[in-house]
């Protein structure tokens, strides 16, 4: 299980970095999104992989014997929501870049004065 998840992290992060290295703005941005997925999964694994109960207490408010670590989950929840905001912002920036410079080729944007 650990090996499987770690491999998934490796593949997702690798694909994300590959996308970020390309010259197409949209690919770079989507690569960023993919990267956040990979890192979220890595963060989750830091909390342990063993199967356990979800971090929801019973009606007396007492934790069960084996329960998932809630800390990575809280962190990832925050990251997912922020990720949406960042994604939207990046796309808006990319869109404006295209609007200003009429290209989405990252390489040809080098040295271009903004607005």
């Amino acid at each position: 299980m650990e090996l499987l998840l770690a491999t998934t992290v490796a593949v997702v992060v690798g694909a994300a970095v590959y996308l970020m290295l390309t010259r197409e703005l949209l690919r770079v941005i989507l690569g960023g999104v993919l990267l956040s997925y990979g890192i979220n999964l890595a963060l989750f694994m830091a909390g342990g992989v063993e199967k356990a109960a979800p971090p929801i207490l019973n009606s007396d408010g007492v934790p069960a014997q084996a329960m998932m670590d809630p800390v990575p989950q809280a962190l990832i929840l925050t990251a997912i929501v922020i990720g949406l905001g960042v994604f939207a912002l990046l796309l808006a920036l990319g869109y404006r870049t295209f609007e200003e410079h009429r290209t989405t080729d990252v390489a040809s944007l080098s040295g271009v004065e903004h607005e």
Partner: protein, 945 residues
């Protein structure tokens, strides 16, 4: 009534802050208004004097960063007091002098601001009781000196001089900081008083040589010792009051001050003795040698200062009681006579319009008072009795004859060097006096020479009384300042005897010889000068080295910048990911193998559903990376996202699963923009080799991150704090969904910021995309996603409300079950998204009666109100309350302020996403009537054309 130590140091800073306001109101007389401040500090120090002389050391400390031993602690011992009197006393005179020296329209605001900044910093240096406090003020003196040298910033030499001074003193300052930190490590304390007790341990420490070298680098650069002397002549581009104050009387003595202070801890060793004495006497001879060649009076004084600083510095290498006494007294005397001389030269400059030695002559008749002042200062510097310079110079020469080590070639050379330096001193003092003031009046000066007004000569005249007074009655200084200063430096002070006349001694003979030979040199100067100039023209002088280094640094920086900063994002991403991968990879390779073994040994069983999910994720990632069509790339990313939601569900993270699903859905909105208005992807931009390179880099990064992930979960070095949250979630937070309780309660502050950031992102998107278009944008291509089938609108009319109800449901169960404010907020907004997909985007906006901006504001206000409510009740910010109330007919009902907080989160998140929809759908080409309908629905935007 006297000022406290902290007030003495901080008042000049406070006054500096007030200077701009004062100078704006009284642009021409700011100096007079500021005059009481240094005078009051001087008076306060005088009030402290009897107590300090009696052996007391008043001290005061404010804790600053106590964890690092960083205290803002001050102490006033005899040595600090001597300096404090110099700083405040000459400071008072300089403030008055500068008021008249500066032209009526010059920027007094900037001048006095920097001058007061310097005064406070310098007082801080000499009163500091903590190494780091001292260092901080030390650097402020460098900065204020930079500002003052560059005061006439339109002149090239002022800018270059300022930069040179800053570079050299600040580089020395950095060495000093390193030395202080090592010293602190070696001694285990940053307090100067405690350091003195630990001197033996420090001297024996293996860091000792490094400490000495680093601290002396700081001292030598500040006090312009060879080979760092070159900044001081350049600093003469400053207005003359500044030269008199910073660059002769006070700041340049900070290095000597430091050497003296540190001598109590680091002194008494051969390393200390040889380094300082050699540097000091070399500086003295070289400074004098260069001074006699100068044509500019201020440059002459600058090199003379260099020379004298070396002369004094040598004394603090000796560390004998006699040498310390001689050094301390000459320090005081030099401040007095050199300050006088500088101000006198400033008057000459003012009155004649030139400082060129060749053009000045016979000024004595026209400027008798200035002549008298200059004669007093110069003769004192040359060591003519009965002036103050004579007294301390005799003491230094005498001390030089009694070195602290066994006599050898070096020690025997010292008196010879001192006499040689003094010969130069005599010669340039004669230039200052005989050449300038006696003889026939000059043929032509830019202005006809005339005596200066009293307000210009009174300050130097006041200072000059010290020359006579401390010459005729040096014992005045002895008891009041010299002996307490020596005590502070760790000398057995009662053995010092300061007197004008010591009888016929070897030192007297040396003095006499220096005066006679110096007069001879002056007489034959026209003959000797060409020889001296040829000697000083050798190519490897310090200035050439400085210029070469400066150029090399600038060119090197430019070359590297050009090479690294290519402007291509790909390169930057490569730097970041490449360096991280290499660094982490190396770390893993060195430490990770045992961990790998352990991690491989304790694998948990593979689940089949998880396997399939992970395979889907990997497939999605591959698709995203390899796809040519952008829709395929987006699909690949979305596949990963949804598979991830499944994985969260499988691995017992229901909140994550829920949020991820909703977020994935809403992510369609930003993609509208990309697909509607950006061109299709092109893939022929890069060649196969670049692709291969990218692929290798990506594979390396993926491998490293995967390995770290794998090893990290195999190495549980400590218990997770998660246990605490599990056990206390219900007890302290009143909720059973631990993740939700963490977000709204335990880590509530994080959530406040996060929600704010989310709102800001929405605002930024709006600003980037929509607001521009309202001003009339470009014609846009038609959206490919303009789908308007029949079934979707029909279903949506029902689904819209169902989704809203579901959002409400998610919200209310959130504290105990999966759900909560984030999920509810995103879900509510997704109803709007749905509407936007099914109908016109504008119509979706009209479905919500509140402007999204107000929704965000309401949410954030609610969050803030909950947090502040706790404060109002006396609890820390964001403390939540919860409990049960019995409502008639309903039984016990739970309440929790955390719910209100969560409601705020939900509002803000929903508003933000709503606004994203608004912003992005603005981009979609609208039929004219839609635009009008939209404008009607948002009346606040109509007036903003």
């Amino acid at each position: 009534m006297t000022l406290s130590l902290h007030l003495i140091v901080l008042l000049p800073f406070a006054a500096a802050a007030a200077v701009p306001a004062v100078a704006r109101r009284f642009p021409r007389s700011a100096g007079w208004l500021l005059l009481p401040l240094p005078a009051a500090i001087f008076a306060s120090l005088l009030v402290w004097l009897p107590r300090v002389a009696a052996g007391e050391t008043p001290a005061a400390a404010w804790a600053w960063v106590p964890a690092f031993g960083f205290e803002f602690s001050l102490a006033l011992d005899g040595f600090g007091l001597l300096f404090g009197l110099l700083i405040a006393g000459i400071g008072t005179l300089v403030v008055a002098y500068a008021q008249s020296y500066l032209g009526p329209d010059e920027d007094r605001s900037r001048f006095y601001l920097a001058l007061l900044l310097f005064m406070g910093a310098m007082l801080g240096v000499v009163l500091a009781e903590n190494l780091l406090t001292l260092y901080m003020f030390w650097e402020i003196t460098s900065i204020s000196s930079f500002l003052l040298i560059g005061f006439w910033h339109t002149r090239t030499e002022a800018r270059e001089g300022a930069l040179k001074a800053l570079l050299i003193t600040v580089l020395g300052g950095l060495a000093l900081l390193a030395g202080f930190l090592l010293l602190g490590l070696a001694a285990g304390t940053m307090s100067l008083r405690e350091l003195a007790d630990r001197a033996p341990a420090v001297v024996a420490h293996r860091y000792y040589p490094a400490i000495v070298v680093l601290i002396l680098l700081g001292a030598f650069t500040k006090s312009a010792q060879v080979p760092f002397h070159l900044w001081l002549p350049g600093a003469m581009a400053a207005p003359t009051p500044v030269s008199a104050y910073l660059h002769s009387a006070t700041m340049v003595k900070a290095g000597i001050f430091l050497a003296a202070r540190m001598g109590a801890v680091l002194g008494g060793t051969e390393l200390w003795f040889y380094t300082i004495t050699a540097a000091g006497l070399a500086t003295m001879v070289l400074g004098g040698f260069l001074a006699v060649q100068q044509r500019d009076l201020k440059a002459l004084l600058a090199f003379s200062t260099v020379s004298q600083l070396g002369f004094i510095m040598a004394m603090f290498g000796f560390s004998t009681d006699a040498a310390l006494a001689a050094g301390v007294l000459h320090l005081l005397n030099h401040g007095i006579f050199k300050g006088t001389l500088f101000m006198a030269v400033g008057i000459i400059d003012h009155a004649t319009g030139t400082r060129d030695v060749g053009r000045l002559s016979g000024l004595g008749r026209a400027m008798p008072i200035t002549a008298a002042l200059t004669f007093l200062g110069a003769l004192s510097m040359a060591g003519v009795p009965p002036l103050n310079g004579f007294v301390s110079k005799e003491m230094i020469l005498d001390a030089l004859l009694h070195p602290p080590v066994a006599p050898n070639g070096f020690t025997r050379a010292l008196p010879v060097l001192a006499v040689l330096g003094s010969v130069f001193t005599t010669a340039y003092c004669l230039i200052l006096t005989v050449k300038i003031f006696l003889g026939p009046p000059a043929a032509a000066t830019p202005k006809p020479p005339h005596e200066a007004p009293a307000r210009l000569w009174v300050p130097p005249a006041l200072l000059a009384t010290g020359i006579v007074l401390l010459g005729a009655a040096p014992q005045l200084a002895e008891g009041a300042v010299v002996v307490p200063a020596l005590r502070a430096l760790g000398a057995a002070a009662d053995r010092v005897h300061v007197a004008l006349w010591h009888g016929v001694t070897p030192a007297l003979g040396m003095s006499g010889a220096a005066l006679a030979l110096g007069a001879l040199l002056y007489w034959r100067l026209p003959r000797v000068l060409p020889i001296l100039e040829r000697l000083s023209a050798f190519p490897w002088n310090a200035n050439a080295v400085y210029q070469g280094l400066l150029r090399a640094a600038e060119e090197g920086a430019q070359r590297w910048t050009r090479r690294l900063m290519t402007g291509r994002i790909r390169d930057y991403v490569l730097y970041v990911v490449g360096f991280s991968a290499v660094l982490i990879g190396v770390g893993l390779g060195r430490a990770g193998l045992p961990g790998l073994h352990q991690a491989l040994g304790s694998l948990s069983p593979l689940g089949w559903v998880e396997l399939v999910t992970c395979l889907v994720m990997m497939g999605g990632a591959f698709l995203a990376a390899a796809a040519v069509q952008r829709i395929a790339v987006a699909l690949g990313v979305a596949t990963v996202g949804f598979a991830m939601a499944v994985l969260w569900f499988l691995r017992d993270a229901p909140d994550l699963a829920l949020t991820q699903t909703i977020v994935e859905t809403v992510s369609i909105i930003p993609l509208f923009l990309a697909f509607g208005f950006m061109p299709a992807l092109r893939h022929r931009w890069t060649g196969p080799r670049v692709h291969l390179g990218n692929g290798l880099a990506a594979a390396a990064v993926g491998l490293v991150v995967g390995a770290v992930t794998f090893l990290a979960q195999g190495n549980r070095l400590f218990d997770s704090i998660g246990t605490f949250f599990l056990e206390n979630s219900y007890l302290l937070g009143g909720g059973r969904n631990v993740v939700n309780v963490m977000l709204v309660d335990f880590r509530g502050l994080d959530t406040v910021f996060e929600t704010t950031v989310f709102g800001l992102a929405a605002m930024a998107v709006y600003a980037l995309v929509a607001s521009r278009r309202e001003r009339g944008g470009v014609v846009r291509p038609r959206s490919p996603l303009m789908i308007n089938p029949i079934i979707l609108p029909a279903v949506t009319r029902v689904l819209f409300y169902l989704v809203l109800v579901f959002a409400l449901y998610l919200f209310f169960r959130g504290h105990h079950h999966p759900g909560g404010g984030f999920a509810a907020g995103v879900m509510a907004a997704s109803a709007v998204v749905l509407w936007a997909l099914a109908f016109e985007r504008t119509a979706a906006l009209a479905m919500v009666p509140v402007h999204p901006r107000h929704l965000i504001a309401t949410g954030l206000t609610l969050i803030g109100a909950v947090g502040l409510g706790a404060v109002a009740l006396g609890y820390p910010f964001l403390t939540h309350g919860f409990g049960h109330v019995t409502v008639p007919g309903l039984g016990p009902v739970e309440w929790a302020t955390a719910t209100l907080f969560d409601l705020g989160v939900a509002f803000a998140v929903a508003g933000a996403i709503h606004w994203l929809v608004a912003a992005m759908s603005d981009g979609i080409p609208l039929e004219q009537e839609h635009i009008q309908a939209y404008a009607r629905s948002r009346p606040e935007h109509q007036g903003g054309e």
